[in-house]
Structure formats: structure tokens, C-alpha cells
Amino acid sequence: MKRIEDLSVKNISWLNSNSYVLELSGTKAIPDILPGNFAEIRVDHHPGVFLRRPFSYLDVDEKNNSISFFVKVVGKGSRKLGTLEKGELVNVIHPLGNAFSIPDNKKVLITGGGSGIAPFIMLGRELKSRGNEITIITGGRSSEDILFSEEFKAYGEVLCTTEDGSLGEKGILTEHPIFTKDNFDFDLIYTCGPEGMMKAVAKIARDKGIACEASLEHLMACGFGVCLCCIQETTEGNKCVCTEGPVFNTNDLKW
């Protein structure tokens, strides 16, 4: 069940020049959160920000009643949230959206670009606990953008691409040699990041007949299914990204 509540800023830690982890904690037990779910965060005290901003959960700490988000600064709201002080209250509606499917004992590939890596910390942990064999590949412009590698290493093999070649393979994510290897035999691919990247990953998946789940980052006004602004065309007509997504099987998308 979704709820609306004020949480307080526990910590903000900057990871590089344009992204940070925002940790919020409450006094009540946090709700049940699944990998892929997101929250709608209200950005107060900024004249230019009217609507809430959606962010996927980066992680959940049930012991401390705290949740965290990985935020990439792209505009007014994401910048403002990064200037909050410890103890300030932030109004949150959550948890929202559907979740990634979690198979048992399969071989899975996780592909994340930019802020799209956010949901994969929780996803990776869940996948690992269910006996899956995990490969994670993240892409970025330069080494600065390749984040959470240590965390990901605990789940499986970690690969990366950078456009400037400063870390891992040079190029965009789908240019990584893994995609052309003969033994590219995953059972399921997950993707989250810029739409171009997700479409490229989905195409590879489709070509190879592998199931693929993408988490979409559509513009949202409400986040809980009433405004109908966040729709995605699917084979079954328009679907709400906020309630019927953000996770979709890419075969259902008209990509």
C-alpha cells in the first residue's frame, strides 16, 4: 500500500560532480519495497519546481528505517534536493510502480547507463539471493560515471564501457564485446538508462530471443495513476508507466 509521509534527510553523499546519494529516514517502519519500485519526492522551496520528481530506490535499510536514492543532477529539482541539510523534511509518496521479475537460478545480464543504474543494487541483491548468475555492465561518458562497481562485484561479474575509454571498453554500452560473444546465452536481460541505450539493448535481446525488462523514465505529473501523462504505447494499447510500469517486458513495447 502506498503512503505519503515526511522523511528526514539522513545523509547526502556526492559521488562525483553531478550525482549523489540521498538518504532519507523516518520514524515508522518503511513499507515493503521491491526492486524497480520508485518514489515521488516533493521538492520544496524552489520557485521553478511545481511537480514532484520520481526516483527509483537505490537501497533500503530496514534496520534504520531508511531508504536511499541515487540522483543525477539534470535540472532544477535534482539540483535542489542535493542542497538539503541533514534533518530537513522531505515529503515522499511511495512505494510506487511495479517491480522487476526475479527468476531462480538463471543467467541474467544487467545493463545500466547514467542514473539507470539506480534500481540495480536492490535488484542484484535479490537476484543473487535467488541463485542467479549475474553479469552487470554499466556505461558512462568517462570513468567518473562508472559507479557502485564495488557493490556490484558482490553480485557477479562487473563490466563497463566509457565513451572516452577512460575505464573499461571504449564506446557506448552496446558496443561492449560481450554482446557479440558466441556464448551470449543469458536467460533474461534487465536495462535502465537513456532511451536510446535501452532500445539498443532491447533490440539485441529480441534478435537473440532473450527476454528483456526495461525500466522507463517517463515524465510524470502524479506518479500514482491518475493524470495519465506518463503513458507508454504497448502492444495492448497505452499503459501508465507509473502504475503498470516502470518495468516493462520490451517485447510489449512498440520499440
Binding site: F50, L51, R52, A221
Partner: protein, 303 residues
Amino acid sequence: MVDLSIKIHELELKNPVATASGTFGYGEEFTDFFDPGALGAIFIKGLTLKNRDGNPYPRMAETASGMLNAVGLQNKGIEHFIENIYPAIKNYNTHIIANVNGSTVEEYISLTEKINELDHIPAIELNISCPNVKEGGMAFGVSCPSAIAVTNAVRKVYDKTLIVKLSPNVTDIAEMALAVEGAGADTISLVNTFLGMAIDAETRKPLLSTITGGLSGPCIKPIALRMVWQVYQAVKIPVFGMGGIMNAADAIEFILSGSSAIQVGTANFIDPQISLKIIKGIEEYMERHGVENVKELVGALED
């Protein structure tokens, strides 16, 4: 205890706070946040005769103190509503009001006839002001003859409370109000969204797939308030005001300028519990000012 109840034509509202069509779904999405039975009424999302996919993505753009939408009346059609949604919501402890949309007068009539059959829907809101559809919609609401034609036609097949929702995209709102009053409207609601537009300077592209969309939120409040005041002075039937209401003070401003009851729209997206807070806020205001009955505030603007 102050008395918040108000009668709008034949509708007895327990308080003057309703939620606006298209911003509250069918109410179901809000049950996690509060009991919709606390509301004066719920205007459910726009219905059409047949399934409508609405406009392509993107359909939303944030603006200064507001937003543009170009949803375009996405809904699964009246049959789907009657079979799958109506049974779940008909027993809410408040009035469910249907928002009625057509591309032709005939469509408005057929849709109204079907809704007329539904015992738990005591009123319809005739939407002649949607700016986001190619046919019908706002076209009916920006000229007196067509507004009269559709109101007249619907009036003939409907004898419960008929609310006509006006478009603010007109030169003379009082004239439109008089026209639909003359054509048989029991109540007028206003405003629907203002036709607006947003561009991304960097990409040179419009932010909406439809280029233009409907503007809502606090940015439009001063214009909406002026229109409500003009309509209140022009007509004898009650007015349901809205446009950028974000808190109880805003709601009271609309009531003072002549709204018998108000609708909360875009604010629901930002704070899903806002209508509950507005009801409490009106109550507090009345207590503080020694107003016993909310009716005393309707149109009570002092010069």
C-alpha cells in the same frame, strides 16, 4: 460546529470541496491516502462513448506555477466504465459525477442516455471545454450557438443535475454562461484548462506531442477567479469554481467570488490529501471568522 453543507441544484453536498475531472481518476487511486467519502463530490475522469487512446507521449510539461497536459480524454469508453468501474465506486459515501465528452452532439446525447441509467450518478458535467481533442471538446465551448445546441440536446434526455463546464478560452465568459443557463444548465462549472504551449529552446521542439495543451495550476488562478466572479454576477444558477486551488485560502477566494462549491484539480498530483486539508481549512476559517454556514460566504466579496 460550523455547517459546511451546500445545496447545488438538487445535489446536497456535505461540504463544498470536490475533486476535478481528470485529476482524481475514479477515486480508487486515492483510497490509500484518505476516504473519498469525505469529499463533497468526485468528478470522475472524462468519459467518451468509445475507447480513446488519447494523444501520443509526451503529454505533460511543467510551467511556472503550473503544468500543461495533452492527455486527450484517454479512457476505455462508457461500456467498460459501467461494467468494470462503476460497480466498485458506486457506493462511495459521496456524489459521483460523470464528466461527459463527445465529438458530436449525437455522441453527447448517447453518452448521457447511458449515464442516466446509472442510479448512483446524480449529476453529469458536460465538458464542452477540453482543449486536447481534435473534434468536439473545446470547439463546443467557445461559441454560443454550439454551446447552446449541445446543452439543449443533452437537457432533453437528462433530468438529473446538469452541470456545464465552460472553457476559459473565450472573450466573454459571462455571455457563454448566460447562453448555457438559457439552454437548460442547472449549474455551471469553470474553468477548464487554458490553451497553452511549451518549447524546449535547446532542441527547438515543442514539449507536447500535440504542440499545444491545457494549462492548469496556480498560474491560472487570477484569471479563473475573475471569470467565476463575472459568471456569478451574470447568472442565477450556482457556480462550481476551480483553477489553481492549492489550499483553503484559495478555495475561500473562489467561494467569496461566487462559487457555491469548488473543485480541486492539479493540486491532487502534488498532495493527494490536499482536498481533505482544504475541507479542514475552510472549517477553521469559518470558526475563526464566526461564519456558521458556508452559504454565507458564497459571493460575499466586499467592495
